[in-house]
Every structure is written in C-alpha cells, then in structure tokens.
C-alpha cells in the first residue's frame, strides 16, 4: 500500500514578517499553519513541487485560503485572546502525563511542559504505566526537579491516567500524551476558558508536527486528532437535543484536555472507565466516554483551538493500521458502554444505521475517485467495528480481575470545594 507523499509542516505568524520558505525542497507539498498573535487562524496547503515558496506566493495563498478569517479578526478586535477573561493566577494546575517506555518522547514533552512555568502553581505528574527496575522513565523524571513520578503497574492508559487524576492537587487537571510537544503559552491558553464558572472541561487542538511518511499523511486524511480552528462549546442541552448518538468523539481527546478536578469526584461523572482506552482490548474511547458523562451531568465542554499541541503521528504503516483498527473497536465499545451503562438507545442508531452508512459512503467516495483514502483502511475499520463487542467483553473481564483503578476522594472528605492545598503544592515546589 503506497500512501500520499510527504507534506512539509511550517508555521507563520502574521504579526511577524511573511518571508519566503526556502527549506522545503524535499517536499512536493507544504502545509503552513498560520497564527496571528497567540491564536491559530487556519492552515493553507501549497503545492511547491520540490521548490522554495516565495513570499509573494505564500501571501497569495494565505489571502486566498484565509481571507475570511483574517478579515473577521480585523473587524472584531475582541477576537484576540487578550480580550477574553483570564483565569486567576492563584489557581493551581496539575499536568498529568502517562508514559510507558518512551524516554525520548517523555523528555521532549517534559522540557516543553516545564517551560510553561509562570506565576501559576504548577504540578507535573508522570505516571509510569510499565514500572520496574528496567523502566527508563525513572531516569528521565529524575532530570526534572519539579516533576512527580507515580507508578501504576496495571496496564492500561485509563488506569495510568486515573492514578494521576487521583493524585493531582491542582484545581485544574490537564491531560496530555507523552508524544505531544506543547508550544510556549499553551497552558495558559488551555486553562483560560475556566475563568467562566460554567466550563467543566476544555479540549485543545492537536496538530501534526510532521507528515513525513505515508502513514502520517494517511492518519491526517483519516481525520487526524485536531477538531478545527473554530471555537465551540457543547453542554447538556446539546447532549439531550440530539436524536442520534451524541458525537462526543468530535469534541477532542485527552491528548490535550483540561478538567476541573471536582468532576472526578462527582458521582455522576467519575473517573475514566478502565475498560476503555489504550492498553486494553478496546483500544480507545475512554476520553469520549468521560466527555459523555460530563455532558450528561450538564457540564460544559469548550473547544479551545488556540491551545494547540504538536503530535508526532505513528511513522510506520503497521502502527497506523493497528491504531485505526483499535479506534474502530473502541468506538463500538464506547457505544455499547453508553447503551448498557447509561441506557442510551441512541447508540443503537449509530451502530446499526449511521456508522455502516458512513463506511459505505467513504467506500463510495473512494470508488468514485472523489477521495484517495485507501479501501483497505475502510475494510480495517469495519473489521475493527465487528471486533468491538468482543473487545469490550474481554476488557471488562480484565478490569474485574485487576480491580478498580485509583479513585479521587469524594468531595466531602476533603472538605468542601477542591482547592489547591499548600501541602499539595509543596510536593511540586
């Protein structure tokens, strides 16, 4: 299976100069992410056919592709993040990074996270999901003075993240993956929407740091991890108004998300479902189900595209196939969970009507030549979906054997609202 050719990734800030891009001679196509101040306004693709891109051409492409976004920002001075309320600086934040034997990724990630430190109390917790004497994680964490290491021996991303969520002392808990790189200013932009009391959770944008291999390009074509350049919010009204399954998978992911700590202690929401997520037969959807529970409990989830992170997609096709297969499995496992746990019959419509229709539509588009998304990946998604129920059953059996994951103490136990405690911060300081 040959995939699409490599795409160069570049960024440009419209507050600075629009210069020629001369270092893309190895690429046929270049994707330029355009930011304005500290916000991303969009991206443009330029077919540079292995030649540099002149400044004039870049300007023309930006004007042609993003003139509406630029004009709107010029017309609306409130569109800048400076005009939006900021979160009070004494509210502490805990960043939870689960990892499992990827020391280089983790080091790069921690360096970027540590660079976010400002006046706000910041706690960084790494959860080693494969602890042991040979674990490379310990040495990496030791390089960083303020980073806390927690061990969670039970395999599963949800076990690991729950251990971090339970241990976090900040009023805001941020979840990222160890294979993301956060740009300067990311943390403040991600937590800024919590200045409004109704916001329960914030998700951010995830951009590809490179599209060098066919598998990375295919993953972006599959949908990638980002959810676009426009802000949106979803709440309980949206959750109840949908007649088909609520598309919580369009809200973001725990590769880049933040929560109010008290939601984990809320009995209507709780922690991540350990039966879902990477490291389990289901493969994913633990975050999707958490969003589902938050919305069901009348919480509000805000998508904040200005808080973007860079993600390195899997470079080889085998890993891509495994990922897409597990996404499909996890998607069905998620719907079955909402059906059996929450009695949500809308899942049936999704599983037996709209999802098959989506697959058929995608295959039709491919056969008609409207897209170049490979049929083999569509087949893989269908196979994954069919394997979903069995995967969920296996995962549930495994969770019964391993026992429930870490739980956050009920709110009442620590006395009223979860506030950042002096003791908690002492650990990180």
């Amino acid at each position: 299976m040959s995939g699409p050719p490599a795409i160069a990734i570049r960024t440009i800030d419209l507050d600075g100069a629009v210069n020629a891009i001369d270092d893309v001679a190895a690429f046929c196509r270049t994707r330029v992410f355009v930011s304005h101040g500290d916000e991303l306004i969009g991206s443009v693709d330029i077919e540079n056919t292995f030649a540099p891109i002149s400044a004039t051409r870049l300007s023309d492409a930006i004007a042609a592709g993003l003139w509406f976004q630029i004009a709107r920002r010029k017309a609306d001075p409130k569109a800048t993040s400076a005009a939006r309320p900021a979160l009070s600086h004494d509210i502490g934040v805990s960043v939870i990074i689960p990892t499992c034997g990827r020391p280089e990724d983790l080091r790069r990630c921690l360096q970027a996270v540590e660079a976010q430190r400002g006046t706000r109390p910041l706690e960084v917790i790494v959860i080693d999901n494969r602890p042991g004497p040979a674990s490379p994680t310990v040495a990496v964490v030791r390089e960083f003075e303020h980073v806390v290491l927690i061990e969670e021996g039970r395999p599963g991303l949800s076990y690991a993240r729950n251990a971090g969520f339970a241990a976090a002392s900040g009023a805001i808990v941020v979840a990222i993956d160890d294979d993301v790189i956060v740009p300067a200013g990311w943390l403040e932009r991600l937590v800024a929407p919590f200045a409004r009391p109704e916001v329960t959770a914030v998700t951010g944008h995830v951009l590809p740091v490179e599209l060098d291999t066919p598998s990375q390009c295919l993953f972006e074509a599959y949908g990638g991890l980002g959810k676009g350049f426009e802000r949106f919010e979803r709440d309980g009204d949206w959750f109840r108004s949908r007649r088909v399954a609520v598309p919580t998978w369009l809200l973001g992911a725990t590769a880049n998300a933040a929560f109010r700590a008290e939601v984990f202690a809320d009995s209507r929401v709780g922690m991540l479902d350990e039966a879902l997520g990477a490291g389990m037969p289901t493969g994913c959807s633990e975050d999707t189900y958490l969003f589902y529970r938050i919305l069901k409990a009348d919480g509000t989830i805000a998508y904040e595209p200005a808080a973007w992170v860079w993600h390195r997609h899997r470079r080889d096709l085998a890993a891509l196939r495994a990922q897409i297969y597990s996404y499909s499995k996890g998607h069905i496992a998620y719907h079955l969970t909402t059906l059996f746990r929450d009695g949500d019959a809308r899942a049936l419509i999704r599983m037996f009507y709209s999802l098959p229709r989506t697959y058929l539509g995608r295959a039709w588009y491919r056969l008609r030549g409207y897209s170049d998304y490979p049929l083999s990946l569509i087949a893989l998604e269908i196979a994954g979906s069919l394997a979903g129920p069995w995967a969920l059953w296996q995962a549930r059996r495994r969770v019964r054997r391993l026992g429930p994951g870490a739980r956050r103490p009920a709110v009442a136990e620590i006395g009223g609202k979860t506030q950042i405690s002096a003791a908690g911060m002492a650990r990180s300081a």
Binding site: P52, A55, A71
Partner: protein, 404 residues
C-alpha cells in the same frame, strides 16, 4: 469604448456615456488588478463607479485587504530585451512603440527591439526610426518563430520578453515581469494578463466572451513534480497565457532550445509556437508563473471575419502543437491523444451541444470554425516542417550576426 483603468485607492473618474461597443473598467487596488466591471451605457459618476466596483468585486477587495504584505526577495537589477515581432505592421506599430517608450524600467537595462519579419517594404523601418531607443532588426525568414528566435540570438539580456504589434504595454509591465522572475528563481517563463484595449465592435465583445486572452487575476505558479507527466497535467497550455505577453530567461533557450520555426503565424500551422514553448518549460521541469500584475492591452480584431480567422487559427495552432509534442516526445503520445480527445469533447462538443439546445449570443459558426481548425491542425504540422526546411535551404541556417 476604450478600456478604462482605475485605482480604487485614489479618486475615481467620471465616465462619459458609452457611444459605441461597451465600456469596461479594469479595477486595481494598490496597483493589483482585481477584475473588470462593466459600466452602464449612460455613463456613471465617480460614486456610481465606486459603488459598482465594491458590489461586483467585494470578495477580491476583501482578499486584497486580508493579504499579508510579503517580504520580497531582494530584487537585483536585471537586464531585459523586449521584442516586438511584426510583419507589415506599420499601421499598428505607433501605439505599440509609444507604450514601449513609456515603460518604467531603468533605461540602461532595457533593450527594445522590433523584429521585422520578411517585410515587403520599408514602412516598418520608417515607423521605428522615430523612436531613438528602439532598435530595428530585419529577419528575412518568414515565420513568427524565426523572428522570435532572432530576438533570442540577438539579445544579451537575462530576460527576453515578447509582445505583439497590436498591443500597448502597461508602464509597469516590464517591472512586474522582472519582479516575478526575481521572486521565483526557478521560473523560466512568466506570462501576464492581457486585457482588451477597446470593446467597440460586436466581434471584440465576442472574442472576450469566447475567453479572450486574459487568464484571471490570481497569480499562479505551475510546475510538475519529477516523474509526473507534464502533458497529462498541463498539456492544455493555452491556460497559461499567450505570445502577446510572455517572457523567458535567456538561459532557458540554451538548454531548452529555440522556438520551433514550423509553428505559428507565417507558416501553415498559423499558431501554437507560444503554447509549445510553455509546454517545453514545464516539460523540462521548470516553473511557469502567471503574473496578473504584468498587464498589456491587446486590440482585438474589429471585424467578424478576422475574428473567425483568428478562432480557426486557434484550433489549428493548438492541434499542430499537440502533433508536434507527439512527434518529439514518444512517451507523451498517449497523453497527447487523451488530451486531444478530451479537448474535442470538453471544449468543442459540449459547447456545440449546449448552443444547439440553448442558442446563446456566441454564434455556432465560430464553434464550428474552431472545430474545423482543430481537424485541419492535425494535418498541418508535417507540411509546415517541410516549409521550414525549405526556408533553411533558401536562407541558410546560420544565425545572423547580432546587430549593433
């Protein structure tokens, strides 16, 4: 009426009532052409014109305002030869030469030549004599591409820009061409915008409706990736522009070869020399830039008969170019055949069927004329090559000495 060019950032003129043809206005903003508006026959005042431009060109104006200002590459002074190839065109030349005299370009870097192609008399020489800064060269071998090649061999400039004798160049034309070459170092060819100089007669309006010579107001860079077929991707090279407004780096001719003397006006093929050269630039892996800021005004044929001849020749020239491509590049034969068939369907048959179902202002006769030209063009390249060989026998192939 003569085309009026206005700049939106400056006070606009009032337009008098339209006495013949239609009144088109070329609207620019900060020097960038945005598009045309057609004003009412009763004329319109400055406010009316502004309102019309804002209404019809809203998106283009918004785009222009949203465009971030680029930091252009340093623009070194580059020498340029501007070549006007003409044949017995003394009547058309004065306006053309006046416009060339008004070019805003460093004089020491600009070399303007008129190549007189197989003239029957001395009128062209006399027309040029009044312009001290314009050189006159005579090319006895009949055929436009001989004249174009003569300009290449005669020139020592880095860039050779071509225009026609029925064209008035915009004062900023040469500068825009040079800047496009400076911005895109890998470009070997720059083409520009050709706007109608006047729309007085129905034939001139018909030509614009047919497609005109303009290729839009978006700057574009074309290039094929290594391994990609230039014929499959960009075979229809008419979309890049026309010989009335094209420029090449002189170094390209050293590696890519000169214009094919068997093509274009003055030979049985009657056209296609420019299309073939655009293709060769892309085929050799170079970039071609369409730069709408490089503007020339073209006086379209005034009579219906001349228009029909021109459209017939378009068909002949395009298919002669395709036949040549199939002869020279065996690997492209399949792509040429595909393009030829697709063109017959997409451009000819579809337009013909549509005009049969719903008669439009564009006469069926002209569509048929181009179809006829296309069929004729398939057979014209071979005899044209024999003609070119005869010319070589008659005049010798030796490049003439550079004139002083």
């Amino acid at each position: 009426m003569k085309l009026v060019s206005v700049e939106l950032s400056e006070p606009l003129p009032a337009l008098p009532p339209c006495t013949k043809g239609v009144q088109w206005v070329l609207v620019k903003l900060h020097g960038t052409p945005l598009g045309f508006v057609r004003t009412p026959d009763a004329g319109c005042g400055p406010e009316g014109l502004r309102a019309l431009a804002l209404e019809e060109l809203t998106w283009q104006i918004a785009r222009r305002y949203a465009r971030p200002e680029p930091v252009r590459r340093p623009h070194p002074a580059v020498s340029m030869t501007v070549a006007v190839c003409t044949r017995n065109g003394a009547r058309r030349l004065p306006a053309c030469l006046d416009a060339l005299d008004a070019l805003e370009y460093p004089r020491e870097l600009l070399d303007v030549v008129v190549v007189d192609n197989a003239p029957v008399d001395e009128t062209t020489r006399r027309a040029v004599e009044g312009h001290s800064r314009i050189r006159y060269i005579r090319e006895p071998r009949p055929g436009l591409d001989w004249a174009r090649n003569r300009a290449v061999l005669d020139s020592r400039a880095e860039i050779i820009a071509y225009t026609d004798d029925d064209v008035s160049v915009d004062p900023g034309w040469a500068r825009a061409v040079a800047e496009a070459f400076a911005e895109e170092p890998h470009a070997m060819c720059v083409t520009g915008l050709v706007v109608p100089d006047e729309i007085d007669t129905p034939a001139q309006l018909l030509f614009e409706r047919y497609g005109g010579f303009g290729r839009g107001f978006d700057r574009q860079v074309f290039r094929v990736a290594p391994g990609e077929s230039a014929m499959r991707r960009f075979g229809g090279t008419g979309r890049f522009g026309t010989g009335a407004n094209m420029a090449f780096r002189r170094e390209f001719f050293a590696q890519g070869g000169l214009f094919d003397p068997a093509l274009d006006v003055g030979t049985p093929t009657n056209g296609g020399g420019d299309l073939e050269m655009f293709f060769r630039v892309l085929k050799n892996g170079h970039a071609l830039v369409y730069e709408p800021a490089a503007i020339v005004r073209h006086r379209h044929r005034r009579s219906y008969e001349d228009l029909r001849t021109q459209i017939t020749n378009n068909g002949i020239g395009f298919f002669a170019y395709l036949v040549r491509a199939a002869r020279i590049y065996p690997e492209d034969r399949l792509a040429v055949a595909r393009l030829g068939l697709w063109w017959m369907w997409w451009w000819h048959a579809r337009r013909l069927l549509r005009s049969l179902v719903r008669p439009s202002a564009f006469p069926i006769e002209l569509i048929l004329a181009e179809i006829k030209g296309s069929c004729v063009g398939l057979k014209r390249y071979a005899p044209s090559r024999r003609c070119a060989a005869g010319v070589v026998q008659q005049f010798g192939d030796a490049a003439p000495e550079r004139t002083a």
